[in-house]
Amino acid sequence: MKDIDIVIEICGSAGEGTISAGEILSRFMSGQGFEIMSFDSYPAEIRGFGKCVAHTRISSNPIYSPGKLADVLISLNDNHAISQLPTLKESGILIYDSQPARPHEEDKSVAGRTKPGMISYGIPLNMLAHKAAGNARGMNMVALGALSALFHVDKDRFTDSIKARYGKKKQVVIDANVNSFLEGYDWAKENIKKSDPYSFEGVNLPEQKEKLIVNGNQLVAQAALDANLMFYAGYPITPATKIMEILSKELPKHGGTLLQTEDEIAAIGAVIGAGFGGKRAMTATSGPGFALMTEFTGLSVMAEVPAVIIDSQRAGPSTGMPTKTEQSDFNSAVMGGTGDCPRIVLAPADTKSCYEATVLALYFAEKYQTLVVVLLDFFLSNSIKNIDVPKKPAKKYRIANIAPKKEDLKDYKRYKITKSGISPRAVPGTPGGIFFSTGLEHNEYGRPDYSQAGHLKMTQKRYDKFNAVLVEAPAPEISAMGRGKVDIGVISWGSSAGAAREAVMAAQKEGIKAASFSSMMVSPFPEKALIKFADNCRKILIPELNFSGQFADFATCILKRPVEKLNFITGRPMASEDILQKMREM
């Protein structure tokens, strides 16, 4: 059977159906058994005619990153597509409108800008859309029709998929979309002489069980519901808002409560209040909101009250670039705030592990009575992947509070020193369990205590949880090392890990001896595993999406040896091509 691995970008202006065309294409291809990963980019402004790009990678094999360059660029709007042309491969294919509503001024047509080696297919998108439905709205469908004809995609299955997508709409809407698709398909079949190598013909993938087509935000919300979330408080902020919107609909059905607060300070305050009450609680935010929550993160750790914060990172300090992706909250999440303040931080590497990370976050927070931060980013929050339906968490992960036993309540010490650092926790309403919690340093009863010995003992207790949680932390993902040393070990974290993994696989094919390491658990970090991995690597490369190499510096402290940094702040997800290029140069 032949393989296919293709990146298709649809570029248009906001309101031209760019994003929905990408979504229809992804859903259809997923239904056909392909792996898909898609990532849309759009302006931060709601109004206006900003540039939208629907980027979709379709493959008959597992994929871990969205791919940097496109094999196919479909232009619904040449003004925008011209600026997208640099990400089209040198041998890429351009599909453009050959009879636009208004003729292009000289130099303003994307077809006139292609490089030698590229293939251009002009399709009268606008004309055919008018022919099909009387207006230009169906241009996106005409383009998909033409694409299907060119690449030998099954016409009938695709039209069935469009019908299903618009199934709930009026018949006239369904007809308009299907007819536009068919116009594009038939026109391309008759008029285009194919000169590219891409074809879906003969790619027959085995029947797959039903796949979920989701983004990270949707999975976080689903995981939280499955893991017994009972309270959510939040304040709208891109790119985390969708989590609140989903939960506002779903949480009441599960008997929980959602609160939209006046700011992020109140959101984390309410989460800690609910946590004090013994209910699982969470908030989601991005950099600016996370900064506001900092004081409360210290209280969660100090008073040992469970709290979960999802921080979907966006680019830059301050307001930064709200719709661009970056991994620059590492320091803030792992080390931010005041005092010696150990907290658990999880950074899922891909869409599907957003589910696992959220379940673990709620579990760890409750069991270890502390703060857990989950680091997503704009890419993970919004990129779409087709995945197997996640398995619901076992009871152990849904109910985890270690309650005091009868003998504990005789002389109840809420902050009793134990080997694991976990003290049995009474929830309000428990007779005999009355205690007092404070952000002040305190003794085992929770009463203020500023003695040297007391502060040392309690600080040690809070750090002891680190040892305990590491025992049940998810193991790092390490690619097969083979025998002997490798030349390059690529260590990555969060959403860069997929690209790193693909880069290492590609490097191995080129004869570079390489291996990859990534850990969802970033605080506390599985240091022993990291050191063991690095001992087997002649050189270390750490790619990440921030300017200064926040994680690389952190890892250097553990490894005590120099590492090679690779940093991007382009606002785009990590590309395996860039890592591979760096590996070749090393």
Partner: protein
């Protein structure tokens, strides 16, 4: 000083025992200054809990930072001493997650109107079912006498030795303007009267805002002293029968030392009831 009658002085112990509320007192001795008005406030709180026969384990007292922040240490309920200005959001989350509990949020004037002033409008307009006690001594006590949001204009303080340049806030007027449906003022020197107000606040199923006039005996020797309070505090109850907004606003404006329940909208549903009603249709 002979005017000061703290609940913990020996001569009052018998009355305290007779009142049968010692189970609401923790074993820790308060760290407040002798003569502090806060003794009167917790005394009223114990009595209100006793009269309503609330179980200690079903109460949580949430506080912020400052002298008032220590309150939960001295009350035998579940207690949470949180961050400066943040008792309201913490109490809000707690109450929404645990409707079965009685939740007190306490705050000082710096807590509630300064650093945490942004939370007050929202807890009021949402009508979260908690009882909020504003320990208003019009000064920052724990940091030793700086101007607060209710310090009188031109009063000399350690942060404004030449006189406070700011105009003080009027907490009752604010609470009314924010849409709080139970707005009252009590006086720390009258634990019986304050107890009745707190009791009504607990009974009210919604956000009850209770400002409590209390002196800082250590850092305010001229303005809100026991002497001044004793001379000026006036019971407005007879003039408050109507409980309409116009009367409440007028009294709030004209009677800075008037105590009683200014406004009480008994019919307004609290937040969880509103949520239940809204979610019924979905």
């Amino acid at each position: 000083m002979e005017e000061i009658r703290s609940a913990y002085l020996d001569e009052t112990l018998d009355t305290v025992r007779a009142a049968d509320f010692l189970q609401y007192r923790s074993k820790d001795l308060p760290t407040w200054c002798p003569g502090c008005g806060y003794f009167g406030i917790v005394d009223a709180l114990y009595r209100a809990c006793r009269e309503l026969d609330l179980k200690q384990e079903n109460i949580v007292t949430v506080s912020g930072i400052g002298c008032s922040g220590r309150t939960p240490i001295f009350i035998n309920t579940y207690g949470f001493h949180t961050l400066h200005g943040r008792s309201i959001p913490v109490a809000t989350g707690l109450k929404l997650a645990r409707e079965d509990l009685t939740v007190f949020a306490v705050a000082g004037d710096g807590d509630a109107l300064g650093i945490g002033g942004g939370h007050l409008p929202h807890v009021a307009r949402k009508n979260i079912n908690i009882t909020f006690l504003l320990f208003d001594n019009s000064i920052y006590g724990l940091t030793k006498g700086q101007s607060s949001s209710t310090t009188p204009h031109e009063m000399k303080t350690s942060s404004h030795p030449a006189g406070n340049p700011d105009t003080p806030l009027n907490p009752i007027r604010l609470a009314l303007a924010y849409g709080a449906s139970f707005v009252a003022r009590g006086y720390a020197g009258d634990p019986q009267g304050l107890k009745d107000i707190i009791k009504n606040g607990i009974l009210y199923q919604g956000f009850s805002f209770i400002q409590i006039l209390t002196p800082c005996v250590t850092f305010d020797k001229e303005n809100r002293t026991w002497k001044n309070l004793k001379e000026n505090v006036v019971d407005l109850t007879p003039r408050m029968e109507e409980k309409n907004m116009e009367t409440a606003m007028r009294l709030a404006q004209n009677e800075p030392h008037g105590v009683g329940i200014f406004f009480w909208d008994k019919k307004r549903p609290h937040y969880q009831e509103i949520l239940r009603n809204l979610n019924k249709g979905n």
